[in-house]
Amino acid sequence: MEMTITESGPGTAVLKPVGRLNMASAPHFKEGIRVALGRGFTRIVVDLSEIDFMDSSGLGAIINGLKSAREQGGELRLAAVSWQAGLVLKLTNMDQVLSVHEDARTAFADV
């Protein structure tokens, strides 16, 4: 799984994983979150527009990122969620916990 990390505003980073977010790629994704938080980005946007498939391990990695961000007084939000990833969020009711936005650039526009 490829992933880009780009700064999109003060203290805000967009992580954009590409391909499948699953058990195999989850450690790589978690490492990306760790790197972003380590560089002082406490507002993390996970842009899922290039994710073809996400399973429960992928969701677990995102939840883990949310916990880590909150521990540092930050927040993690999702953007451009596909129907498949959206279904995983909906069935698990994690859409109540994770804030979902249409566009990565405006995910933190309200703060």
Binding site: M23, D55, S56, S57, L59, G60, I63, N64, L66, K67, R70, W83, Q84, L87, V88, K90, L91, T92, N93, M94, Q96, V97
Partner: protein, 393 residues
């Protein structure tokens, strides 16, 4: 529990043993013969296992023979030492000079092999290289044969462990249904790998039946260990007076383990009152439970609560109630079932079709098992079906 000390024994395999068949013909060692042949410059390569009377050729290169008799002096020599056996020129070897050495129908002069031990240390076969011309192999060739045979032993040991995990996990599934007049109960759990994070469970309670379907994040052995923990915790928490208190008790007990392992569990847990068909349930992020009525209509049971292991807020779960009317079927299943269709929520309607067409609860799970095996499912597939008889009980 180790074996008694002493020399390893030659332990013939059983040809019907699925573990050994997988070793001989499974994907684990595919192309190993070809690669070994190129690496060591040996025309013939074979992984062999021995049964009572025959040597069975598994992954091999340079020939197609399946078996050869075991009575040759060659196999006695290979199977009675842990060292690499090297025959530089069979025609100059007193054991073979008279008739020449034939292996698997091939005339062989150079031969080198090292025994393969099973997970319990018995000698069950060998990894062999050979050629039609005499050869004095480099020390590196001999040591590579030894290393490759040890690699095979390691792999067989891992497969052996995995199969034991799978056995234990299967043993934790309920095999019999408590007496429940007027109801049929059936379950299915097909892990995508040897073991997995899904399970179903049921057991008698005073008023009828408690049942669970759960899906631990991830796949494989790590998920299976957590699944066994979740099962035990939910069972022991079921002594609580209602279904919600039971699930919350289990969630609290599991919180630390799930946090440490960075995992979470989706779960449907219910208690059915046999006399009335009334049941109460908690849906912790599961969301895939259907009620199919006698008239053929179906609805997805309401959920709305978070999985176990998600403790981001002071979220408390809720208890829901519904009734399994006469002629009605409840089916709850893991999300792997959706992937048997198009993966969308529309797949739920296809599951309802199976329920309607099936003549019993058992037939429902059999049909889903058939689809899963046909489709080479990538995710764990678990189903629990309960049907209440239509007529007078």
């Amino acid at each position: 529990m180790g074996k008694a000390t002493g020399a390893p024994e030659i332990a013939p395999i059983r040809k019907s043993d699925p573990e050994m068949l997988a070793a001989l013909h499974g994907p684990t060692f595919v192309n190993m013969g070809k690669n070994t042949s190129e690496l060591l410059g040996a025309p013939y390569v074979a992984l062999v296992l021995v049964d009572q009377t025959e040597v069975l050729f598994g992954e091999r290169h340079g020939f197609t023979t399946e078996t050869t008799p075991r009575d040759s002096a060659l196999w006695d020599r290979v199977l009675t030492t842990d060292e690499v056996v090297v025959i530089e020129d069979a025609d100059a070897d007193p054991d073979f000079a008279d008739e020449g050495l034939t292996v698997g129908g091939l005339r062989v002069r150079f031969f080198a092999a090292r025994v393969i031990h099973s997970a319990s240390g018995d000698r069950i076969g060998a990894y062999c290289i050979a050629g039609p011309d005499p050869r004095v192999p480099d020390a590196s060739v001999v040591s590579t044969v030894a290393e490759l045979s040890r690699f095979i032993e390691d792999e067989l040991g891992k497969q052996h462990d995995l199969l034991r995990v799978a056995e234990v996990q299967r043993a934790l599934l309920p095999k019999t249904v408590p007496p429940l007049p007027g109801y049929q109960v059936a379950g299915l759990c097909l892990p995508a790998q040897a073991a997995g994070g899904d399970f179903y469970d049921w057991y008698a309670i005073e008023s009828g039946l408690a049942f669970t379907l759960a899906d631990v994040m991830g796949k494989g052995v790590a998920a299976a260990i957590l699944a066994a923990t979740v099962r035990a915790t939910v069972r022991s928490a079921s002594r609580k007076k209602n279904v919600l208190a039971g699930v919350e008790r289990a969630a609290d007990a599991l919180a630390h383990d799930l946090d440490e392992t960075q995992s979470f569990v989706t779960l449907f847990h219910a208690r059915l009152e046999a006399e009335t068909g009334r049941f109460s349930y908690v849906d912790a992020g599961h969301g895939l439970t259907l009620l199919v009525s006698a008239d053929g209509s179906h609805r997805r049971l309401k959920g709305g609560d978070l999985p176990l292991g998600i403790a981001l807020s002071g979220h408390r779960r809720s208890r829901h109630r519904a009734v399994l009317e006469e002629g009605c079927t409840l089916v709850t299943f893991s999300d792997g079932v959706l992937d048997l269709y198009d993966g969308s929520l529309a797949s739920v309607d296809s599951v309802a079709d199976i329920v309607r067409a099936a003549s019993s609860a058992q037939k429902i799970v059999e049909e889903i098992a058939r689809l899963a095996l046909e489709g080479d499912a990538a995710d764990d597939i678990t189903v629990l079906a309960i049907r209440r008889s239509g007529g007078p009980i």
